[in-house]
Subunit: 174 residues, 2 copies
């Protein structure tokens, strides 16, 4: 799914560095696994709590923050999503009564999101089923060695995609 | 982001099988890498061809199929997406002139999607930049051993999420 090997026309220096057959198979497996997994977790959380996976992740972030509150920009960075996607999610969570927004005392333009008692309850009720879904789909299927390998590989990829330099096109800076 | 360790109330048998600290770090790295990567490829393809990553994958599938055509249901299965998401994508690609739909001769209710010459041109023009983006973000950063490990792990996860039994809740069967 990643690309094709038959392209003949291309602009820019040198021959394209096409993937080998083995790399193509790996890339395909990566796309299949990640697409299926995200769909699976969205379905599980929609069924159990009426929210998609990304919303759940925001509640988790807030539950772990001091005083259950976090700046909107930090939340977006933690979830690796754009500010506009975050705003939309927080508005929905606020309508559910699970989160509320407040002005940030230290920064006039900033806002905090705060996890409500109701939000914490939803999280506590949903977490056991969610961790079970994650375990069954991933950790139960891998050896301890594979879990370590996966962690190393994913850290390398994640670090490469968020370079330190300030010009990087990162979702939460858009 | 996966879940919390503090839940005290839960229904269902036994203590929840919370993730260990190490598993949590792996899970977090997985979520960060996959979210950043999908965003990165969407941006790259929007910039270079005005389409998101999933649309590009559909064009690739068609380019590899005999006579550049594929049944809609097979396309959805190949992309691991729902039929409604596929319909939406194909409608957009059709408006761009890159794909056309035709009735399936062997199945009165079925439809094929066909890659047009224009669609093939777009793919050929876009593929070199796309494969470069995939290489830079993933394959250039991993050792040959890590690429093999990633392939094994992703195949295990993907297979677990699409069991053979007919009752499975798979996106393309919804």
């Amino acid at each position: 799914m990643g690309y094709m090997n038959t392209a003949s026309m291309h602009a820019g220096g040198g021959e394209p560095r096409w993937l080998t057959d083995e790399e193509q198979r790996v890339w395909q497996a990566y796309l299949h696994a990640t697409t299926l997994f995200e769909d699976h977790l969205d379905r599980q959380l929609q069924r159990d709590a009426g929210m998609p996976h990304v919303y759940y992740g925001l509640l988790v972030q807030l539950s772990r923050a001091p005083h259950r509150r976090k700046r909107m920009t930090d939340l977006a960075m933690g979830a690796k999503i754009t500010r506009s996607r975050l705003s939309h999610a927080i508005a929905r969570l606020e309508r559910n009564g699970w989160v509320r927004r407040e002005d940030c005392p230290s920064d006039k333009r900033g806002q905090n999101a705060v996890l409500t008692d109701e939000g914490l309850k939803i999280l506590e009720r949903t977490a056991p089923g969610h961790v079970e879904a994650v375990r069954q789909a991933m950790f139960d299927r891998l050896t301890q060695e594979q879990v370590e390998q996966l962690g190393q590989i994913m850290r390398i990829v994640a670090e490469g995609l968020q370079p330190e330099d300030s010009g990087a096109d990162l979702p939460w800076l858009r």
